[in-house]
């Protein structure tokens, strides 16, 4: 058995193809880009060597830190929201809706297939004041809170929270289905014996279901946090990073720096910082979860 599993040719056969394309299309470009962090300039005007200047610039760049702060706040809130809402939904599917859940699952899932521009436009329309009062403001006026009518996306915190709501709404159905797949896998006899011990409802969920769901929950969290740390499309479609720079995440700041401002070297440095930050966050979750699973 052991010998069989140490067969070199088999190992090469199984890991070889994936590792090859991965190296060529992912690792090589990363190292290549990492090289650009020591240069200034762009592909048109040419690059010039600056050593570690880009990195020291990073530390004194307020815009970078502001973006980093926004990125982390967004990633934390949206990850909790997405996975949390997904978990609640999946529990509801399996314990309450059961057979009838198929249609609801599909409905809740559908925003995922909607193009970002369409979703963003809907949220813009919902919260706008001009040229038409959106649903939200019209409702406020309707219930006598007319004095609170305002340009919600035009305020830094308004824009941030609308972005958060939009992204949670879009993807909670997706996480619900992921977690639902995990729930379906939990053997009934475990639940049954727990019930015989007197556990039920929330206790059952907390003591039995959640621990068994941990692996897929951790995967979901890692998945979500890496997606949200790299948020790009939805910001661009909803707020374009505004008002001012209030909702500009690192990816957008990097993209603007590299392409619009023509400083590809510094842009790569921002990207590198983002990569390292994501790596750190993931490793922390990874470590924590491994410990948890072993318990």
């Amino acid at each position: 058995m052991e010998k069989l599993l140490r067969d070199r040719r088999a190992i090469l056969f199984f890991i070889g193809p994936a590792l090859t394309v991965y190296t060529l299309v992912m690792l090589v470009p990363i190292i290549w880009s990492a090289g650009y962090t020591f240069f200034e300039g762009n592909a048109l005007s040419g690059f010039s060597w600056t050593g570690l200047d880009n990195y020291s610039k990073l530390f004194s760049d307020d815009a970078f830190w502001q973006s980093a702060g926004m990125t982390f706040k967004y990633a934390a809130v949206v990850t909790v929201g997405q996975v949390g809402a997904g978990l609640i939904l999946s529990l509801m599917y399996i314990f309450y809706l059961r057979k009838a859940s198929s249609l609801v699952r599909t409905l809740v899932f559908f925003p995922v297939v909607l193009p970002t521009v369409a979703v963003a436009q809907m949220f813009v329309k919902m919260f706008q004041v001009s040229p038409q009062e959106g649903l939200f403001n019209a409702t406020l006026s309707g219930v006598g809170l007319g004095s609170h009518v305002q340009d919600w996306l035009g305020t830094p915190s308004g824009a941030f929270w609308i972005l958060v709501i939009m992204d949670i709404w879009r993807s909670m159905g997706f996480y619900a289905v992921l977690l639902y797949a995990g729930l379906v896998d939990i053997p009934e006899d475990i639940l049954e014996s727990a019930r015989l011990d007197g556990a039920s409802g929330f206790t059952l969920t907390r003591r039995i279901v959640l621990p068994l769901l941990t692996p897929i929950l951790v995967s979901s969290i890692i998945f979500s946090i890496n997606g949200t740390l790299k948020v790009f499309d939805s910001v661009l479609a909803l707020t374009k990073g505004g008002p001012g720079d209030a909702t500009t995440p690192l990816t957008l700041y990097m993209y603007n720096t590299a392409f619009s401002y023509g400083d590809y070297g510094y842009g790569s440095t921002i990207a590198m910082a983002l990569t390292l930050l994501s790596l750190a966050v993931t490793l922390v979750i990874f470590r924590a979860s491994r410990k948890d699973v072993r318990k």
Binding site: A18, I94, V104, V113, V119, P131, Y264, L279
Partner: protein
């Protein structure tokens, strides 16, 4: 024999117990609210796709269209070229999905089941790929593809989607392989089945669920991609659904919303239908797989 929760639904006893605990009314209200929150946008999308251009700023968002402006659909089909974009999206998405599945199942097997030095390191290397922002590698990738003559070629998308899908998929697959009991493998080995046959006939069926999950995760990643298709494709005949929506954007970012929403409807409703059909199959597969496991 282990049953799953889903089989429980047929037992009225446990059913009533659960339902009573959770309470009827609040949950029903919550479900109703949920359905509204999800359905309303669909309706809005449909309504908007039939509005004339000036209605978007002259009338409230919930107003019904003044007339059925079917011209939007005509525009979406002709100017918007939706049929072509839909085909391109499918041509880019499914080969990439297939590649991701094949490569990640094999890699997951090698990383979690097979025994070799450095596999922890390689797993970490793959995991690191999850963190890399796409924007970082655009220039190098563009250069490579350009030199290889792959710009304005769907292969540039397929390759990139595959590679960017690999880290997470390999990671998930490795996790699933951990759950495959050792004894299963040993039994197969004692039977004299070779490694490849064991992989094919014993190991593969046990990770069916994982394959479904990974496909689901990756499908929507790929389907919703805009940045890559914008960067690598500029030929109008090779655009995907997402980048095809740009046909209704003017120089100053003005969008013709009518045809845009008509395009979105034309793209979304078939997708939804496919999902509804697949959904039944997928969930059946999930349940069947878990009963066996």
């Amino acid at each position: 024999m282990t049953a799953t929760i889903s089989t429980v639904h047929r037992k009225p006893k446990s059913r009533t117990r659960f339902v009573r605990k959770l309470g009827h009314v609040p949950v029903r209200l919550a479900v109703a609210l949920l359905v509204i929150v999800e359905l309303a946008p669909l309706v809005w999308l449909g309504i908007s796709s039939l509005k004339a251009e000036d209605e978007f700023s002259s009338r409230p968002m919930w107003a019904l269209p003044r007339g059925f402006h079917w011209q939007n659909y005509v525009d979406a089909w002709t100017t918007g070229n939706m049929s072509v974009y839909f085909r391109n999206s499918i041509l880019a998405t499914f080969p990439a999905l297939a590649l991701i599945i094949v490569l990640s199942v094999m890699a997951g097997f090698a990383l979690e089941v097979l025994r070799w030095k450095g596999r922890e390191g390689v797993l970490l290397l793959f995991l690191a790929g999850v963190m890399v922002p796409l924007q970082m590698v655009l220039l190098p990738l563009f250069t490579i593809y350009f030199q290889a003559g792959l710009i304005n070629n769907l292969w540039s998308l397929i390759i990139t989607y595959t590679v960017f899908g690999l880290p997470l998929s390999v990671f998930l697959m490795a996790g699933y392989f951990k759950a495959v009991p050792r004894e299963v493998l040993e039994a197969a080995a004692i039977d004299g089945a070779g490694l490849y046959r064991t992989f094919w006939s014993v190991v593969l069926p046990t990770v069916r669920n994982a394959v479904v999950t990974v496909s689901l995760v990756q499908f929507f990643f790929i389907w919703n991609d805009l940045l890559l298709s914008l960067t690598f494709i500029s030929d109008d005949n090779l655009r995907t659904v997402q980048s095809g929506l740009l046909n209704f954007v003017g120089q100053y970012g003005q969008r013709q919303w009518g045809p845009t929403f008509a395009s979105v409807c034309m793209a979304v409703f078939p997708t939804l239908l496919i999902y509804l059909v697949l959904n039944q199959k997928v969930m059946k597969g999930l349940t069947a797989g878990s009963v066996k496991g």
